[in-house]
């Protein structure tokens, strides 16, 4: 198969080293305005990724917020975010799950106070491999599948 190369962006954000199957999931949870130029690459060759393939998302003219980086960490921890400014990598962030996740995840418990009152959600991270979190309010534990289904868009 012909080797595919993506054209680098001048200003914006590149999300690299995504597991190929997660690239679309990451794209869905980012708040990308309609006029932004987005390049998505899936199953690109990678020397770093275990299966030799990776996903890449490049967004022209966008910088990610803390919440957006937290969302990415829940879907694809260990991916890399490069903030590009004037064709140069201004900052490189290795995506890791924080000890506490705030405002990016909904609680799966319908009887949780966060579903009834105006409350910003908070979750304590209990484990990273596999990921599990506990709601700060109702104390319900959520595991990988529930977490991925409850990321706020």
């Amino acid at each position: 198969m012909k080797d595919i190369r993506l054209t680098a962006i001048s200003n914006g954000t590149t999300i690299d080293h995504l597991p190929p199957s997660k690239a679309l999931d990451v794209l869905k949870v980012l708040n990308i305005e309609e006029d932004k130029v987005v390049t998505l690459g899936v199953n690109l060759k990678s020397g770093k990724m275990k299966k030799g393939k990776k996903g890449v998302i490049m967004i022209e003219g966008k910088k990610l917020s803390r919440e957006e980086i937290d969302k990415i960490s829940l879907i694809a921890q260990h991916s890399t975010i490069n903030l590009i400014s004037n064709d140069k990598v201004e900052k490189k962030i290795s995506v890791e799950i924080r000890d506490e996740i705030r405002e990016v995840l909904a609680c799966s418990n319908e009887n949780c106070i966060t579903k009834k009152d105006q409350v910003k959600t908070r979750f304590k991270v209990l484990g990273r491999k596999p990921i599990s979190v506990r709601c700060h309010y109702c104390e319900k534990t959520m595991e990988k599948k529930e977490i991925l289904n409850n990321i706020l868009v």
């Binding site: 418990n109 009887n111 949780c112 106070i113 966060t114 009834k116 009152d117 105006q118 409350v119 599990s132 709601c135 700060h136 309010y137 109702c138 104390e139 319900k140 534990t141």
Partner: protein
């Protein structure tokens, strides 16, 4: 030699008191048993003991001039009356409601607004609410201390504290005891919270239930890291080992079919015959109300301590009221 021992004892007591006072200062709310360390738990139990032994005329002055709000958004007999009695016996005034219909919640007021209103009239809020996490939210919305008197199926920390106090009173210790839990271990919040607290005391735990109502796996794994844990469906299997048999009610609404419920319900009934195979001095506890799981014939035996257990709610809740309101005992 004797003098040396006396000196050591004096020093030890001095350290305990010094430490206990620092715990008093740290406690701002009682929301979840997870928030309490072993030292925190011990500090509450010690104060409950002191309060139980304290003459009424001295006790009734401790919270004079204080107002305690009891906000019960759902029905409760034991917890509400026990909190009200605890506060009144310490000389506090009690205000509040026993039904959400009697509050502005019925007009659509949010919980945040209700507690922010109530804190203007009182020094401490005791709250029971059907929504999980409501007590945590309330504690973050107000400046006065909040005691969680039950937030739906989530936490009921004062029940756990009175359970610990009951065990300590019965055996003089909690460390190293063998505690068996019977009944609804899947949904029973009292079992989950008590098990979490008991792990601090290295108590061995025996979980006896129908597989449908077994302890949640994640909680079991957490407990296994700290202490010995056994699971069985047979009530009599570990009976000889147990110091405490903690019974719980199996609730009909947990089962999709009535037949399944009836089959399971009758698997874990106890009567006097159980004592023949039990360890001598084994105590039977129950958070109450019971349905049919404990035969009335057991009530008058020395083994049954479930009515003492509920009475212990008063000194334990008094200890919490005093500690959260900064009253030294």
């Amino acid at each position: 030699m004797l003098n040396q021992k006396v000196d050591q004892t004096f020093l030890f007591c001095w350290f305990v008191l010094l430490f206990s006072d620092s715990v008093v200062g740290e406690l701002e709310d009682i929301v979840s048993i997870r928030d309490l360390s072993k030292k925190g738990l011990d500090s509450i139990l010690v104060r409950a003991e002191k309060l139980e032994a304290m003459p009424l005329e001295k006790k009734v002055k401790l919270l004079k001039g204080k107002v305690v709000s009891c906000l019960f958004f759902e029905p409760s007999t034991r917890t509400r009356l026990s909190f009200e009695a605890a506060a009144k016996l310490l000389g506090a005034e009690v205000i509040g409601f026993a039904d959400a219909k009697a509050s502005s919640t019925a007009k659509g007021e949010s919980l945040s607004d209700t507690v922010k209103t109530v804190e203007r009239y009182c020094d401490l809020i005791v709250m029971r609410h059907p929504v999980e996490g409501s007590a945590r939210l309330a504690s973050e919305r107000v400046k006065v201390p909040v005691i969680n008197a039950g937030d739906g199926p989530n936490q009921h920390p004062t029940q756990t504290l009175l359970d610990l106090y009951t065990i300590k009173k019965a055996f003089g210790k909690i460390n190293g005891l063998n505690i068996g839990f019977v009944g609804d271990l899947k949904y029973g919040r009292t079992v989950h919270s008590l098990a979490e607290a008991l792990k601090h005391y290295k108590a061995a735990m025996y979980f006896i239930s129908h597989p449908f109502l077994a302890m949640p796996k994640d909680l079991l794994e957490e407990l296994k890291e700290e202490t010995q844990v056994y699971e069985t469906t047979k009530l009599r299997k570990y009976l000889r080992n147990l110091d405490v048999l903690y019974m719980t009610r199996i609730q009909r609404e947990r089962f999709p079919y009535l037949v399944e419920y009836e089959k399971v319900r009758d698997e874990y009934l106890i009567d006097k015959s159980i004592l023949e195979r039990a360890k001598k001095g084994m105590k039977i506890m129950h958070p109450l109300p019971r349905v049919n799981e404990i035969d009335y014939g057991l009530d008058d035996t020395e083994n049954a301590i479930y009515f003492e257990q509920l009475a212990n709610g008063v000194p334990v809740r008094q200890a919490l009221l005093c500690m959260l309101l900064g009253v030294k005992i």
